[in-house]
Each structure stands twice: as C-alpha cells, then as structure tokens.
C-alpha cells in the first residue's frame, strides 16, 4: 500500500523534471539563438516611459500589502483546516453518534473564523479607498 502510494507521485516527479528541463532548455536556446546587438547606455536603463529613471527603483509601497499578506496567512491556514473536515463530513453524518458533533464543531470553528473576519473588517483592514 505504502509502495503504491509513493509510486503515485512518481509521475509528478517526472513531470517536475520535464517542466524544469523545458524551462531551462528554452531559456538556454534563447541565449544561443538570440541575436546580439550593441549595448547602449539608454538600453540598459530601467524603463520609465522613455524618461530617465527618477529616485529609487524599488519605491516604498503601501503598508496595506503587508496587512493583506498577514491576513492571507491566517485565513489560508483556516481554510486548510476546513479540508479534512469537509472530506469526512459525509461519513460522519451517516453515523448517528457523530452526526451533531461534526456539524457543531465546525459551526463553532466558523464562528471563531467569522469573529476574526469581522474584526479585520471593522478595523478597516480591507478598506483600500484611502
């Protein structure tokens, strides 16, 4: 069983090798086949609609993006918790003993998740207008 479980992943591994080979191959081919032209100073500049670049090339950006990243981590982990629940839900519903437990535990989990969501919402974490 364990053997065959691992064997299932062998094609994925092969596909990864193929994908990496493909990406590396096309990049290399392009280096060799691509024509080479003169390098000029203007060509080397960072593109800014034809004007000379002004200021830092990696400018400061809104703190909102960090907030989104943190919220993503929180919610994504909670989503992952929902997956195993969803998979066993049908089986546990069929069993009379665990019928209410499986629904109740998830409703309480969703309640906490929703409280967190409401909190973020009220803190204007999703407000991008200003």
């Amino acid at each position: 069983m364990e053997q065959s479980q691992l064997m299932q992943y062998l094609p994925v591994l092969m596909l990864i090798v193929v994908a990496i080979g493909f990406a590396a191959g096309t990049l290399t081919i392009s280096v060799f086949l691509g024509q080479s032209a003169k390098r000029t100073k203007a060509k080397d500049m960072a593109y800014e609609c034809g004007a000379n670049p002004i200021g830092e090339n990696t400018p400061r950006f809104s703190i909102k993006f960090h907030l989104v990243a943190m919220l993503f981590i929180l919610f994504d982990i909670e989503v992952v918790f929902l997956y195993p629940w969803a998979v066993v839900y049908r089986d546990m519903l069929a069993d009379h003993a665990t019928r209410n437990l499986i629904l109740g535990s998830m409703i309480s989990f969703m309640f906490i998740l929703f409280a967190g969501y409401l909190y973020a919402l009220k803190k204007k974490a999703f407000d991008w207008k200003n």
Binding site: M14, N57, V68, Y89
Partner: protein
Amino acid sequence: MDWNFIIFSAVKIAVVIGVVQGMVAYAVLAERKISAWIQDRVGPNRTAPPFAKHIPVLGRLLTRLGMFQPLADGLKFMFKEDFTPAGVRKIYFFLAPAIAVIPAMLTVAVIPFGSVLGGQKMVIADLNVGILYTFGIVSLGVYGIVLAGYAANSKFPFLGGIRSSAQMISYEISMGLSVIPVLLIVGNLNLGQIIGWQAQHGWLILYAPLAFVIFLVASFAETNRLPFDLPEAETELVGGYHTEYGSMKFALFFLGEYSNMIASSGMMVTLFFGGWTLPFWGLDHPAATLVSGIIHILIFLVKMAAFIVLFIWVRWMFPRFRYDQLMDLGWRRFLPLALVNILITAIILWMRA
C-alpha cells in the same frame, strides 16, 4: 520498479505537455482572432510558410485563419535578442520566468483528461489528494511574478509584482473556500472520484452553483486575466511585472499565463461540469473500447475549449476593475459569500442525512 508504469507515465506526460503547449499556442491565436471579430477586424491572416501557397484550397484557408501565426511567433521569440538590462538582479531575472512557467505546467498532472484508454487511466498522477495538490502548486505560481517584479529593479515591474502578489493571495482564499462545498457533497479529494460521483448523480454545477461562480471569478483573478489584470495593466503599469523582459523570457511568462488558464479551465470542467462524462449516450461510464476512450478525451477537450473561449470573451467584453474594487470584491464580497455557502451546504446535508 514497475517499468511498464514508468513508460506509460512518460508517454502520458509527453502527450499532455505537447497538447497543452499546442493549446497555448492556439489559445493565443484564438485570443487574437476572437478579439478581432469582437472589434470588427480580421486579425492575423497572412503569415504563412512558403509551401502553403502550393497547397490548393486548404493552404489559403489556413493562412486566412492565421493557423501558421503561432509558429512564426515562437520562432520570433527564439531568435530575438536575449537582452538583460544592466540594473537587474541577474540570477532572479533568469529564475523568475522559469518559476512562473514550471508550476503552470505541473497543475495539469492530476486532472483526468479522459477515462480509460488501452487499460490506462487518462491522468498523469491519480493522487488521492488531487485538489490539495492543485492548490499547493497554484499558490507557487505567485512566486514567479513577485520574483520577476523584484528582479527587474524597476518601478513598473515592482509595482506589478506587489499588486499581483496581493491579488493572487486574496483570491486564493476564496478559491480554496469555494471548493469546500464540492468536497462536502462528494467527500473525496481525488479528482477521478469526483468525476465518478458526477457521472452517477449529475454535474456538481447543479448542486453548488454559487461555488462555481466564486471559483470562476477567482480563477480569473488567479490567472491575472482581465477584468483582473491589474498586475500588467497596460494603461497604468506599461507591462507590469514583465516590463523589462524580452525574447524567450517574456515568452515563458506568456506561456505560464496561458497554461494557467488552460489548467483552470480543466479544473472547472472536472469539478463542476463532469469532466470527461456526458450524461447521455452512455458516455458516463469509463470507456470499454478504444473509440469511446478517445471520445471521452475529445469531450473533455471540447468542454475545456469552451471555457478558454469564455476566458477570452470576457477579456474583450469587460473593463478592468480598479484596485480597491478588486480587493473589496475578494475580501468583502466573496470571502463571506464562500463561508456562508459552506455553512448552507453543510446544514442542508445535515438535514438530509
């Protein structure tokens, strides 16, 4: 070691990669042609190899339809100057396109593109955790774009990269949540079994329409397609994260985007539209003969093509969202909607059981 298994897997991989790349090439053509028709133009209609005019009617027809255009495009990308600007972070600059395209190619591994052909299941890897695998790989896709934005060391790519990372992770949550009702109904993560369930009980779009809508919109955002193409909004950010890229490196981003589009179409067909099955003519059973096996593959491809056309059609019909509208839609509309959808599905199942 089961050499038979390895050889068959290798053949499947080769065919699937070949077909996907071909579809990418012709999806680009379809994009150009459909946009042309929508805008009352003709689109690419004259690129042709020298021998084409010697073929009687067919040669002219294919040229008119632009069938040779993708070949010319590919060759052009390959022979273009492979220019690397002086200011970029070199290693990441080369790494980014590769990282963008690799996950896009890996997503197709678990999608069953047919039932059975010659005793082989028509899926590269029949994983028990199929959906989780897909989401895991899809979320890797964001790295390529962020890295591209960072590597280019230039303002427009940088902003594009930042934007796309926030956008993609925002919609990933809705996407992940939207699939849960499907899992609740089917009770399995294996995509083959999900299709099997649909063959018995009917397509899941009938059971979870809201989930499908959320999934559809989220996949538009995940693939950075219009109306959510903020990371590469031409009017604001020139080319977004790939502004500084040219030649094959740019082509790989392009390839990644279209591969993602194809993979999402495949996922939607599999999850909500019964995959390779059709509810009539007895096409909902795994194929017994070679012919019906091929028919199943064709059904899958046709369904997928329909979704690709939908992607293209939407791109040329709708205007772009503003960034705050985009985030608002993702976090304030779809996230609670998806949560409520899960809750309702769970309660209905609980009452029925």
